[in-house]
Symmetry: C2
Subunit: 294 residues, 2 copies
């Protein structure tokens, strides 16, 4: 019997459990969640075979522990899981989209970074929530970044890569700081921008302007529909990298605003052309494949 301990039975964790069980990677899944109702629903749906009343009970005898909790709870949960596992050499992995802050906080809580903790960030997601929306195909064809540290056990990293492969995901091992800088640029700043833009339409009178909104508006603002508490946590935990990106963006925007003010047509056109070319390069890159990303 290969046992997975699943801490947090939301959509992301439950989808991993479904996919890994189907692949035969795990054949007994023990679930724990601070939300008792969610845990009961996951049990009733057959996502977990067994529920545990506490974290310590959940990880007892586990062959692997997936910490699938909200961003602000990850570090505390990983630290508690590692304490609960004691000397057992059991891989522990998470799903957070920011890695340095979690690694630092776990290191601080445990005194040293546990060698069995393998930080992960799957580029997958859904606007649906909860284990009832779990989808065994959620990670299929998606990229999963692993950001092990020098202290991380290489065998643990290799095991966690195999778990992801069994779910159909593509893994890539990268440096945690480089990862966080990259997602600040490609994901966190766009969310901040979309929120800042959409806040323009805060009251009823402003919403009459929606009559003038077309498909461009619809696509540009889609990510402003994200969960406010989740994005507050993600942006705060990566705030230094986000601030660097934000500064650059405000600088570029200010330059474009100045060019508009002085009717500097050449500058506007050359900046827009550079942006259009970059967009073309993105479309032609593997990243634009609809089966790979989040």
């Amino acid at each position: 019997v290969t046992r997975l301990s699943l801490i947090g039975v939301g959509l992301m964790g439950a989808s991993f459990a479904l996919a890994a069980r189907r692949a035969g990677t795990f054949d007994h899944i023990v679930g724990h969640d601070v939300d008792r109702a969610a845990l009961g629903a996951a049990h009733a749906a057959g996502i977990v075979d067994e529920t545990a009343p506490s974290l310590d009970a959940a990880v007892l005898g586990a062959d692997a522990v997936l910490v699938a909790v909200p961003p602000s709870a990850i570090a505390g949960c990983v630290a508690d899981v590692c304490r609960g596992l004691g000397d057992a050499n059991v891989p522990v992995f998470d799903l957070g989209s920011v890695k340095v802050a979690v690694i630092s906080a776990v290191r601080e809580r445990r005194g040293a970074l546990p060698s069995n903790f393998v930080p992960c960030h799957p580029m997958a997601g859904s606007e649906r929530q909860g284990s009832t929306a779990a989808d065994a195909a959620l990670y299929r064809g998606r990229r999963v970044f692993l950001t092990p540290c020098p202290e991380t056990d290489r065998a643990a990293t290799a095991k966690v890569e195999r778990f992801w492969h069994s779910c159909g995901a593509l893994t890539r091992v990268v440096d945690a700081e480089a990862h966080d800088r990259a997602v600040a640029a490609t994901s966190h700043l766009p969310h901040l921008l979309a929120f800042a833009y959409m806040a323009r339409f805060g009251n009823e009178a402003d919403r009459a302007l929606f009559d003038y909104a077309g498909p461009g508006f619809r696509d540009f603002t889609r990510i402003a529909g994200g969960d406010p508490a989740l994005w507050r946590d993600i942006l705060l935990s990566n705030r230094q990298a986000v601030a660097v990106e934000l500064d650059g963006l405000v600088r570029r925007l200010t330059a474009l605003g100045a060019a508009l003010g002085t009717c500097d047509a050449a500058t506007l056109e050359s900046r827009f052309a550079a942006a259009r070319d970059a967009r073309g390069a993105y479309v032609n890159s593997a990243a634009a494949d609809p089966h790979d990303g989040a």
Copy 2:
């Protein structure tokens, strides 16, 4: 015989011609375009029945004139058409997404605003170009804003509304200044933002970051693929309204950046929640209907 004079045989004009001919609104279409090859192609494709070597020849005997040229050429073309038509009470209409600048420039060129000019802005478009991509369904279910001035002949406005209805479009008569402020908020600023954001990925090294881009990035940046010269002209011709929107956005972004810097979680969450709520209101509005907008 009801004759339409089509000045400019690009996608927008050719699509109108196709739809209006099918509806029986016009049964003879005379085309003119400064691009002789494009004009020949539109003739060969049966979009126009006859080609005219000059603007004056094109409008001779017309029952209506559609000026479907790029934004920077609209005012000059409308003025020339009105001069060519002389006293003939023939409606002239355009397709530009900015109205005040065109109205002012036509007024200036003609001494007074011609009463037969009915400024229009159809909320439709395509990333394809040219008459070979013409689509009789392009305007079906789409909104078309008409911005007549006090000088505009009410019968001309009514006729142009009927032309649009025959193409399946929904018309709305609005004030030109209110229109331009609205599209600055819902369309022009998002384009400026998407261009400013996407210019971040100007060189090869930055494009390695696309590996970290998911569906959110894809949708957020789609409008950065727009034509640089077209958007240069649109933004310049509506620069005052765009500047007001840009100032507001930079103010909101700066406030969010400050909240990030001081770890002001409550401010971040409340701003994000306001944005999320506005996005929800948009989704529930008629404007989000995929058959209505551009």
